[in-house]
Amino acid sequence: MSELLSSFGLGGVVTPERVFGLFRAVLTLGVGLFLARLLSLGIGKAAEARFGRQRAVLIRRFSYYLLFALVVATALQQLGFHLGVLLGAAGVLTVAVGFASQTSASNLISGLFLIIERPFSVGDVITVEGVTGEVLSIDLLSVKLRTFDNLYVRMPNESVIKSKVTNFTHFPIRRADLEIGVAYKEDLARVEEILRATADANPLCLDEPEPLFIFRGFGASAVEMQFSVWSKRENFLDMRNSMWREIKVAFDAEGIEIPFPHVSLYAGTATTPIPVRVEK
């Protein structure tokens, strides 16, 4: 074989040892990657049982990359590279990459903390930085949300960690605060009675915790009050809609007036009457 290689003028560069080494390296790479994949899948499966799907995916990826790095390092050794030199180069590269990828690193670390802290999980409904939606996934660098008008929003983990997150699906029951105003002439005790009776008649409105009646004060147009009612979280919208409807019906039936501000129209600076034309 050396004659064949010499005839191509590669006698010095490509020696049988080197070819052998290349062959071994390729073999190591091939077998190693295959084993790395198998092992990481196995670790992933074991982690799923223990840590849940989200974390298991991360653990599987992390272990695969670790094994991948080991396999490549071994393959490179087969080729004759010295690992020390490699690590030195890697060190310099890391610093350079680190400076360049500060945001991504921050997102990565934030992601890890999110997974550990668990303020919300996949499937929860959250509001973060003004965006409300269902959590589709919590990934390495970002959280993916689906808004209720079916838009896809990518929230960097960094901003999730830094800002206030409201989780709508953490607690099982929720309170609806209904702001109501009634005319000054109304008997407030009677109004409270009517509101409580309406809540009582509504099956979605929880008996306990009891509805809360709060008198807010004497407003500009009306006497202002707040009537807070609880419902099972899933029934929140239905309960609130039905309560508003039923309160209006009850007020109309009892003759309770809900005032609203009126606007006076003036026709320009001169106060002449606004012309009206009657058509038959």
């Binding site: 099982p172 099956p203 979605l204 409105c205 929880l206 008996d207 306990e208 099972k232």
Partner: protein, 273 residues
């Protein structure tokens, strides 16, 4: 209240049979390959009437719920039976009631029932609906954890005679034993309806087995034990429905409920609102 409404009823093809049990009206029509059901519930939970007719006196209104079931050949008979609520029921005391340490007594509660419809030849449930949809309520020490239950509109009664007899409600005898060293303030109790069976009497009254709540220590937990068979107060009762869920006898659970009692989220609300 007059007589039992549950049982098996044979219906000819093309015929609509009608029942009224308390606030609920049911129309059942048999066709060659179909059964059609319609139910309508009035808001009047105190309605007492029981009626059954082969010719419906009225037709279902626009708010009636309807359901149609297809069969290769529609079964000849329909079976009506009551069922307990599918969640525990919270019953409140009308006024503050205390049971001193070491004392025991019996109380009586009336809880909502569901109507279950099955067809001849099958034990599968075809259709079910409450006679009157009870109100949801939360039973727990805080708004963060607890259980969603139904609220019984009829308060705890201290004498059996004062329990209203209704064809669409079940009567339960609850024996409370306070074995703890302190007095028990009974504001409300949670009846584990899904694990109770139903027994019917000839006069149309429906009973569950008796329930014993034994408070052994400070706090709101009690050992719940169920009686075997119909309670003594039910004359000649026959079992007409089994429990929705089977559970081990003697369950320790939060039963009395100091829901937002002297401590709890309620006080926080009062401070900050």
């Amino acid at each position: 209240m007059s007589g039992t409404w549950w049982g098996e009823f044979r219906v000819e093809e093309g015929v609509t049979r009608y029942w009224q049990v308390g606030p609920l009206r049911l129309w059942a029509t048999r066709q060659p390959e179909e059964w059609q059901l319609a139910t309508e519930s009035t808001a009047d939970n105190l309605a007492n009437e029981v009626a059954a007719a082969v010719e419906p006196p009225t037709q279902p209104g626009p708010d009636a719920r309807t359901a149609r079931f297809g069969f290769r050949s529609s079964p000849k008979a329909i079976r009506l039976a009551p069922a307990t609520a599918d969640r525990p029921v919270v019953v409140k005391a009308a006024s503050p009631f205390f049971i001193p340490a070491g004392e025991e007594l019996s109380l009586f509660v009336s809880t909502a029932l569901w109507l279950q419809v099955r067809v001849d030849g099958s034990t599968d449930l075809l259709y079910e609906t409450p006679f009157h949809r009870p109100s949801d309520t939360w039973f727990g020490s805080s708004t963060r954890e607890g259980e969603l239950c139904y609220a019984a509109k009829i308060a705890i009664r201290h004498r059996l005679e004062s329990v209203p007899r209704r064809p669409h409600r079940a009567i339960s005898v609850v024996r409370i034993r306070n074995r703890a060293a302190t007095q028990l303030e009974l504001e409300r109790l949670k009846l584990p309806s899904p694990v109770l069976s139903l027994y019917g009497c000839e006069d149309g009254s429906i009973w569950t087995e008796s329930v014993t709540l034994e408070r052994r220590e400070e706090g709101e937990n009690a050992m719940v034990t169920l009686g075997r068979g119909a309670p003594r107060a039910a004359d000649n009762a026959r079992k007409i429905a089994g429990p929705r869920q089977h559970v081990e006898p003697g369950i320790l659970s939060r039963t009395f409920g100091g829901l937002f009692g002297r401590t709890g989220a309620r006080n926080h609300e009062r401070v900050a609102e």
